[in-house]
Symmetry: C2
Subunit: 236 residues, 2 copies
DNA sequence: CGTCTGGTTGATCTAGATCAACAGGAGTGG
DNA sequence: CCACTCCTGTTGATCTAGATCAACCAGACG
């Protein structure tokens, strides 16, 4: 229930990184009047795998995790979405049900935009469609790359790579000017995201720590040598 | 240099499964006059990874393999494209260079459509854009699924799965009415496609054979029990 | 207090990679 | 015709990353 809830799209900090930057003022006003912003607590969900897609979600702040159920029924985290990202747009475009579950990972403000609204905007402004196309292309590439990586790279590499991605989004400098990262997700989720067992992640973290690259205490990570980590990353 | 080379888009057998089915007769006539059909020998390439994207390719017949170079410089087969499939459209849409190399795997007839032509058609007919969007969405999903599979499934499962995909496209019934498949690619390529070493593939094939599911002689595969194979496939 | 959940650690197991030798064509050249 | 190399595939022996199983620990929470 933060003040952000009352903010308009015009004032939205993250708008310029979203699809909606294709809209003109008039269209933005329409969107602004009709969008449904809402604050969510951690642990709640936006939608479930299999649900009909009634519209799309646009993240203003916070973090949501996208999970998918495998055949055996265990859900695994497949991706994270932060501020400025649009969620559920592929199901919307495909006019199909959601292929995954979107779960709030930390307190978040998310705007919901009804299916009909999006459709209207799409008809009015072809540029918006192009933005969505761009986004889809990026997604396809990302999955293509990740597929490639998961066969080629070792767990350790993927772990370091994930840490860097998270650092970009959540990293800070502490009072001593050292780079620190407060992990937003559990080790189990890290394991799922990387495609490894929790035990292996635990050991892998231990190894990274032993090498002096970083220090892990609970969910706090202190990097002793960020450059060294970056150098160890595969070309990608 | 088959007769197909002179055929028009109107007579194209595979048109209905391509993006171009969105075109009306007038647009199709334009495309027909300006497209550049060509017959390729096996071993030649349509374009190389890193090349600028001058247009897109539409397969009329044959088979092309899409290969990608990893950091170490070895190229691995990442997908196969058959009749009716459009190649290189994502690089075109992204206005970026090609991310992979397209190599002719068997004698093929492929039509080339210049960038400018596609752009003109896209401007004339928004439905065409939607088709491309659809295709991209499908691609994204496919990669998403494959990523999922490659972590979850065993090499054997993936091999059987690939065999079934190939059977759908190249399978036939022999004189005894038994299902047979002439493999269009080498074992090494099978290995790359599945993400395993050639040796493992060889052994895996041996195992499948020992179980009596199929018989391999060179590139010929004789299925003794197609249903049994299908039953062993993971849910996907 | 007990109970639960998330995490760590140790012991063991296994799918698959890697290394190495070898066998069957398919040319190619004498 | 044989000898040579080159290429693809098979097979065997060995190695290893990571999974699995199991015990255990530390907070959180009733």
């Amino acid at each position: 229930m933060s003040g952000k809830l009352n903010a308009t799209c015009f004032g939205c900090q993250v708008r310029h990184s979203t699809e909606w930057c294709a809209l003109n003022d008039e269209e933005l006003a329409l969107l602004d009047g009709i969008k449904i912003p809402k604050a969510y607590e951690a642990g709640t969900t936006l939608f479930h795998q299999g649900d009909d897609c009634d519209g799309i979600y646009c993240m203003s702040s916070g973090l949501v995790g996208v999970r998918r159920l495998d055949a055996a029924g265990n859900s695994t985290l497949v991706r994270l979405c932060g501020p400025g990202e649009t969620i559920g747009y592929r199901s919307f475009l495909k006019k199909s049900g959601h292929r995954s579950t979107a779960e709030i990972m930390m307190p978040s403000v998310v705007c919901f935009i009804r299916r009909t609204t999006v459709r209207t905007l799409l008809e009015q402004n072809p540029n918006l469609g192009l933005r969505f196309l761009d986004h889809t292309l990026k997604d396809a590439e990302e999955f293509e790359d990740r597929h490639f990586e998961s066969v080629t790279f070792t767990v350790r590499s993927r772990l370091l790579s994930l840490l860097m991605v998270l650092y970009e989004r959540f990293g800070q400098l502490n009072e001593n000017g050292e780079p620190v990262l407060e992990l937003p997700i559990s080790r189990q989720d890290i394991a799922a995201l990387i495609g490894a067992s929790p035990e292996t992640i635990s050991r892998s973290i231990g190894a990274v720590q032993d090498e002096g690259l970083a220090q892990f205490r609970g969910r706090k990570v202190l990097f002793h040598n960020l450059d060294a980590v970056l150098q160890q990353l595969p070309a990608a």
